[in-house]
């Protein structure tokens, strides 16, 4: 059998990519083109994670099913999906992408913490990524749902550990993340106590029995009695 001659080893000027930096450092002292050595040191492990992400893909359920589950028309669903797919071709939004997208709307502040909470509110099955169905169901509640449903959704957002109670600590985290979005350059400038004061006001309003937590009933009750909140709930009716 003919055996192809093994090509000669890599010529001397281009040494093998050396995972151990010490010998290459020695060589680099003597050769003028030392930059080659540092470039040849290539990390190998990151490619695996790249492979992983690129093969995961998700296709949403059919248009009819989605139409049944949500209150959007077909056309609305189509245009929503186009926007969704444009930004996330793989069909799934992971938390980092979500944070990036959301942060672009708030250039002056840091929206990543609030985006994290939002992500958890949308990611209903808690699997770390939002599919189009989650996205569209969430939007349907927000834009076309009844006031009670919207309030439920908001409660779900504030209740970080989803145990049915909003504690002061949870509310403080949420409040801080909202204030973070304002950034540094505000008038008046945000003091450190501002979030906690806001939380106190919130609890004074919402916590009827003064037990330190807000339950869903207290929350919905209080909100329905507050005119401002009721008005603002209707604000985004015609967003799509």
């Amino acid at each position: 059998m003919l055996s192809h001659p093994i090509p000669s080893c890599i010529p001397y000027t281009h040494p093998l990519p050396d995972p151990f930096p010490t010998p290459s450092l020695f060589f680099s002292l003597l050769s003028p083109s030392s930059s080659l050595f540092f470039l040849s040191f290539s990390p190998i492990d990151s490619s695996d994670s790249d492979l992983e992400l690129s093969t995961v893909r998700h296709q949403p359920e059919g248009l009819d099913q989605l139409q049944a589950q949500t209150k959007f028309t077909k056309k609305e669903l189509q245009s929503l999906y186009r926007g969704f797919k444009n930004e996330c071709p793989s069909g799934l939004v992971d938390e980092e992408t979500f944070k990036t997208i959301y942060s672009q709307f708030f250039p002056q502040g840091d929206a990543t913490t609030y985006a994290h909470f939002l992500f958890n509110a949308f990611d209903l099955d808690r699997n770390g990524s939002i599919r189009f169905e989650d996205f569209v169901i969430g939007l349907s509640v927000l834009l076309r749902g009844s006031v009670t449903e919207k309030l439920n959704w908001a409660f779900n957002l504030y209740d970080i550990n989803k145990d049915g109670y909003i504690t002061k600590e949870e509310m403080l985290l949420i409040m801080k993340s909202i204030y973070d979005m304002m950034g540094r350059y505000t008038y008046p400038s945000v003091r450190d106590e501002a979030p906690s004061e806001h939380v106190e006001k919130f609890f004074q309003k919402m916590d009827r029995n003064r037990d330190g937590v807000v339950t869903i009933e207290e929350f919905i009750d209080t909100c329905q009695k507050d005119e401002n909140i009721m008005n603002s709930m209707q604000l985004f009716e015609n967003v799509i």
């Binding site: 444009n86 840091d110 204030y179 945000v190 006001k201 603002s232």
Partner: protein, 637 residues
Amino acid sequence: MAAGVAAWLPFARAAAIGWMPVANLPMPVAPTNKNKRQDELIILNVSGRRFQTWRNTLDRYPDTLLGSSEKEFFFNEETREYFFDRDPDSFRSILNFYRTGKLHYPRYECISAYDEELAFFGIIPEIISDCCYEEYKDRKRENTERLMDDLEDNKDNKPPNMTCRETMWRAFENPHTSTMALVFYYVTGFFIAISVITNVVETVPCGSMPNQRDIPCGERYTEAFFCMDTACVMIFTVEYLMRLFAAPSRYRFMRSVMSIIDVVAILPYYIGLVMTNNEDVSGAFVTLRVFRVFRIFKFSRHSQGLRILGYTLKSCASELGFLLFSLTMAIIIFATVMFYAEKGSSSSKFTSIPASFWYTIVTMTTLGYGDMVPKTIAGKIFGSICSLSGVLVIALPVPVIVSNFSRIYHQNQRADKRRAQKVQKARLARMRISKAGSSTAFLHSKRNGLNQSLELTGSLEEDQQLKKTTSLLESQHHHLLHCLEKTTNHEFVDERLYEQGYLQTALQNFPSQSPSLSSEEGVTGTCCSRRTKKNIQALNATHTHSHTHNLQELSALHIHCGEQQPLNTSRSSLNLMSDESGSLNCKSSGLVTTAIISIPTPPSNNSRANPDAPPPPNPDAPPRPNTGSDVVKISAL
């Protein structure tokens, strides 16, 4: 906003419902989409090839031709499509820009054709994405160089009206322009050579008289050499004077290196003429003759390589300095060591440390003359260490110098590289400005009170006027930011205002990091800080009124700087605010939209009809204050 992000704006707005239960203030009214129509496909016919896309896709960049109403000029009524008589191949990348938000430069495309297409469709080339930007810049640079070369070739055809002086200067600088210049060039070169050879031969011993020792030729044929010298010096003097006469800037010419060399080369002769053959000064006179050797440097006008060598040495000054410094350190160390090592030896030549310097230098540079050698064992050991380390110390900076030289020699486009870097900086600055545009656009529209007037005035002309200044996307985005302000009961403020107005009050370090890029120096200066101080009290008072839906007062809260009357709480005076043309803030006018493309448009129209309902806050739109305010948290808006 970037392509996809615009599609997520409805989502961001819907998610704002999460703030509502927390907010204590009422929310502003949302901008409605008056011409709400279903998204439709539009057909773009480019020289026969039909492209189709959604209308919304094109609306993402309202500053370009396709995104604005300018495309209506190309609308063909019969076929109901937009017809452009342009190259369909280039159009592909332009349309992809709308779709993906990234502009790519196709390699097969000619650079000037591509530039023309971009200019036609109103897209600035700076937003070419990084993957293609290098290629684009390289091609552009080559093109401009080629154009410049062509220009220079044409320049060589002598322009008719050059004065005698300019002609001479041109002749001196570019010898190949005319025959006279070439002759002059060669003649001076010849005489430089003659002069140098004369200096050399002068010292050669030639022939000995039987009763005398060998005398150098210079002393034997004194008159001959003197005549040679005189002739050369006269030629050099004439040449120098002619250059001095022809130079466009005499002062600069006299300071240049070449002219100093010229002067140094001919001065000794004249000094020698002046001084008589005095015994006292003859020593000094001889020293002066040394300077005649500088005539050899005059060759550098004739040789490009010499000039580059000189330039290399100049640019490697730091490496040379390092070499010198490290050598000096090593010399002192080793000389000391050798001196003390050889102190014991009886007939040692190492009489003192400075005497050992000579040994150290000779050894470190591996010369090894052998006139001083260590005799003790310790001395020999340290001597060998000295020579080994000498090799290392000298070998280290040399490759740097060598590579420098080769780099300069091969790339004599160094100046162009620097120019390109400046352009790169300018590009980044422009992109920063356009990215920062989103937040400043919001602040700007706050000052205009556009957020309110969209709804409450409600007349048709208002809307049409408004559409010219902000796109619906922008107004929705601004509404979102406004809701956030209401939720937290704080307002967004310009970075510069913030720093000036609140330097007195204790600044809280806020947890979030917002790196700020300010690209223009603000003219706000003292004006703003004075006014903001005045406003603080007034604004604090108006805050308490804020729970009523009042247009005037909402807009009053927005005006921090640039108003000429101080605010007070009476409603009537709140209407007076608008003559902001007197504000010192404006450095640049123009509304920067949230699109990446920021082509300054004229400030929003000044004459807005005052409806009978609560009057709009400012009949005059202020010129936009500080352009370079803030931040872009993350990439590509």
